[in-house]
Symmetry: C2
Amino acid sequence: MTFEIKYKDARGRAGVLKTPHGTLKTPALMPVIHPGKQTLDVSKYGAEMVITNAYLIYKNMDLRVKALKDGVHELINFSGPIMTDSGSFQLSLYGDIDVSNREIVEFQEKIGTDIGTSLDIPTPPFVGRRRAEEEMEVTLSRAKEALEVRNSLMLNSVVQGSTYPDLRAKCAQTLSEMDFDIHPIGAVVPLMESYQYSTLLDVIMASVENLPDSRPRHLMGAGHPMIFSFAVALGCDFFDSAAYILYAQDDRLLMPDGTYKLENLVEMPCSCPICNSYSPEELRIMKKAERTKLLAQHNLHISLAEIRQIRQSIADGSLWELVEKRCRNHPYLLDALRKMKKYTSELERYDPPYKKTAFFYSGPESLNRPEVHRHLERLNRLPRKKRLLLLPPTEKPYSKHVDQGVMNFYSNMKISDYSNTKIPDLAKFSGENLQIVVVDIPFVVIPLEIDEVYPLAQNEAPQTMDQDARKFLRDHLERFVEGYQEILVSAEALEIFNIPLENLDITGNPFHENEIKIPSINSLLNDEIKIRYIADYQFGSGSGKALFDGETNIIKSKKTGKIRYIYDGDDLIATLRARDGVLVLGMEGARRLHSHLPYPINRVVVNEDAEPFAREGKSIFAKFIIDCDMNIRASEEVLVVNQDDELLAFGKSILNAEEFTSFNTGQAVKTRKGGF
Amino acid sequence: MTFEIKYKDARGRAGVLKTPHGTLKTPALMPVIHPGKQTLDVSKYGAEMVITNAYLIYKNMDLRVKALKDGVHELINFSGPIMTDSGSFQLSLYGDIDVSNREIVEFQEKIGTDIGTSLDIPTPPFVGRRRAEEEMEVTLSRAKEALEVRNSLMLNSVVQGSTYPDLRAKCAQTLSEMDFDIHPIGAVVPLMESYQYSTLLDVIMASVENLPDSRPRHLMGAGHPMIFSFAVALGCDFFDSAAYILYAQDDRLLMPDGTYKLENLVEMPCSCPICNSYSPEELRIMKKAERTKLLAQHNLHISLAEIRQIRQSIADGSLWELVEKRCRNHPYLLDALRKMKKYTSELERYDPPYKKTAFFYSGPESLNRPEVHRHLERLNRLPRKKRLLLLPPTEKPYSKHVDQGVMNFYSNMKISDYSNTKIPDLAKFSGENLQIVVVDIPFVVIPLEIDEVYPLAQNEAPQTMDQDARKFLRDHLERFVEGYQEILVSAEALEIFNIPLENLDITGNPFHENEIKIPSINSLLNDEIKIRYIADYQFGSGSGKALFDGETNIIKSKKTGKIRYIYDGDDLIATLRARDGVLVLGMEGARRLHSHLPYPINRVVVNEDAEPFAREGKSIFAKFIIDCDMNIRASEEVLVVNQDDELLAFGKSILNAEEFTSFNTGQAVKTRKGGF
């Protein structure tokens, strides 16, 4: 079985899992198939993998005989990959079951399950610590035993530990050192049933952060589409749904925005074939069995559509937007979204810095997104100039509209304000000694040099600011201006930024000119200043000087007037990608960056086997990577080197550093060019 | 043609429109049918009414002849109601058309259109005021002319006035005095195309507020499902969609959360039959015509599903929740949602106070909802006691958990705090002289007597408060406590409420007891105090005394222990409805309330014709209502009287006061009992 990541967003991944019974896309929903009673062919609704219960088969003599004779695929009439559960669910329900771990693992192998499960103990939430610990130890020892017993059966191994994050972490760590294929996160159903999504968040994060990135994770028992996008954004890949049939039996319809009771419906709420063909009244007067079947179909349709939409949003880079919308479906889910703030740095490591779609601000929670955190961190590592000019926001990209903005800025200012306010005679400065920034939500401070770099131009926020945004702006702006000796700003702008003048420790003498010269702001910034700053922002301080020192030839697009190529003579140093304002290295650029940045910064180190392929410009597969800069995120421009730090190639990372080292399958770097 | 309201929520309504060609539900989407080129049978996808273009038929000799001979229903092969547009769209595109208003109105009547349109001038947004005014006058005069020309043709009359709210208002007012059947709100497409939803909000509100409630309103040219719920919440009933086919021709998929380009899709994003049956790749390699047809089907499926979900959410009383979710689909839509704050009082008049579903807080915007505004207004009109005890929030209903809450409140307080803090010796007080309130978001102050009245118990908010909620709590709490002589509160609670001690003008002496007696908070409130307060809150100050004076016999539910019935001897005064804690009048209660409340408070006055029916307990139809208390909202308990203010019956309002007087069709009051 192999698992590969195709697209990444937030901590989620859209991947491909190859199994002996076929290949499927993840995130995936596995409908639960009752081995004796199933009447619905779930593959017709798009299910690519299912889960069934080995214990129920084992306990029923007819089913057992048939499964041992014909195999589980024949038994439940499903030709795709099948996962089997071991009876832990029955254990959690009835307290005891009459099969041993060894027996049920051996049985699963015999009936030809694709992925079997050992007999873990599903410890409920909020039990005493001692019980949680003891039961976790049993779970671990049964996991070990399963490895010994199995022949070639692939195995699930369930993370337990109740609601103790450290126990979940310990369990995950221990399991990650053993040879398992998928990791369910177990015993979370009671949390979901009682809407305790904040605790669920902690349980998932403690587990995921300690499981290998190369193995899929399965949020066990999660079958309500309301929760899918949230769990995927935290790193879950599999869900299983008995809900589609259980809710149907109870005359309830699943929807991504909650649950609808058939008795309350005056309309069918979705676009699925069932909702298109029947009225609520028609369903209500139908015979129970027929109705249940139709509602189960609706439930499958809508659940699988939600999974497809999640995969699409990962490919688009809009998973955060989807999660922020879905979390409005219940205030407790919104609370969990708000509490994700404490995991921002963890999530940031996995979130690709460059995406296809714009960042949409959907409320105060958007301030906690990795993109915002990353930008403020990156700004912090850049050197400071002495003087700072703070400009109010305009339309984006700012540099296009800033001169009009500055005109308004001055023309709205009264003469009487001058003595108390910093009025810059801008003509005295240039971009060399003056840092010009636009102040805006959600990125707070946007240096004009990088105003077209993703996501600083590719974002939208409502004009009406919420109080959290005001506070965020004030707090971060106050911190940002600290390093500057002189701050140029109008009182009016401070009002816009919501900053009391006295809080800003403005040093230096105020300007007292009667006539203020207003040069074009853009004229203060030349192209060299701009590309160097972009490089510093993207690759770290000093990179701009290293890449663009000496004579550079900047070629602009005739159509847009934007910088496109930067050459040294005939040698391409870099391209400025029009879509997102990001520098894409050329041969010469890669060479220069490699000499400038000390090992291991920005490096992906491959072994000898991969060296010739890398030099030929072939893509780098994860299994050849032996080391890397642990700060690499997915979608970044990286250098590919050998163990002696000789530059072999350069390209775009598809995975992040943790994933480079965890995965043994799939592409890791899409090489742009080799041949050094 | 008759229009009736069945369910109400926000300013939206789910209604039924009867036309000569059949009855349909509103809100409704009318797919645009091209009279010559249509290949898709839109009725197969659930469209109950369509719109087609009379000018295009008029201009094409073949179509004209066929339409005049067989009628427009035969021409476009649609047997349901048909609306025709007059050519204004072509006028807006090409600046001039060669048909007169008179001609096109006559033509529409001849071809058997259900609802025709006069030749209005679609003035674009942001034109000069003079042009907007002049063109509006032309639109008005053509509307008048259409009335003169038409025989029995029903007529649309379009509200114009560009982006000048006062012109929109004037146009709407003028049209509302004339005999039209439906009112399109025109020339808003450019606003939607450029995401100027805040301006759209102002245009819709200025129009809707000045149109008769009894006529459906049509947001002309709105065909993107992203905007439907927002527009419905503001009072729009009809949409028309050419988008389903135009977007399909352009390989774009409509979704309630935005637009997807087929070229970017890796998955089909919804549950509709098309998204279930095809992959993006299969669609991409298909022939253009075939693909366009399938994408148009998807677009119709998803648009009509959104309309169904909107109708369902109106019936459920969860339209606000839907709107608040949909408005997260674009930051400019979120901005419009935030700007709806200025219309809260207008919206509140139409929003039913009692709903089936809980109030879900989805972000700072929820603070602007009518429910919150209404509660704070109602509290203001109640008399004040001298002393106020502020309690921190607990689980809901508060009265069930408040005693445990109070225990925690004291046990967490340190002795050293006492001298600076108000420590109540609660045993000294009773509910007669002490107002006990819980402080919580979003309703700020919840007197314990009414903690189970909708929506004070039926709401959820995230535990993690946003800054707007903190500010809202502080501002409103500061205002609320002003009238009290003594405020009992712990410093800890003030911290929870985010209120600096010095801001609270706390008078009276602090308590200095070493031993604090903590009686049960609930024991301070007896049932009499409770039901009187509920009545005062629901019907206005003094109603409690009027209803429950003298001997009352309070019967509680054996199962829940809650108050169910309040009798005077054998006479039922009122029932306390278990679902939402609202008082439902009995005969005796209606009688008492009628003598207590001066005319016209809480009255619906019916004419002589209706009097016998009302006395028999038959429901009251809008056309019989000749006067009413203009403060009546839908879903309230009201008194039905004759012109001499004799009590005839009592019941539940289905419409609000404005609608009582505007409508001539449909039920207005669901009578509970007559027979006085």
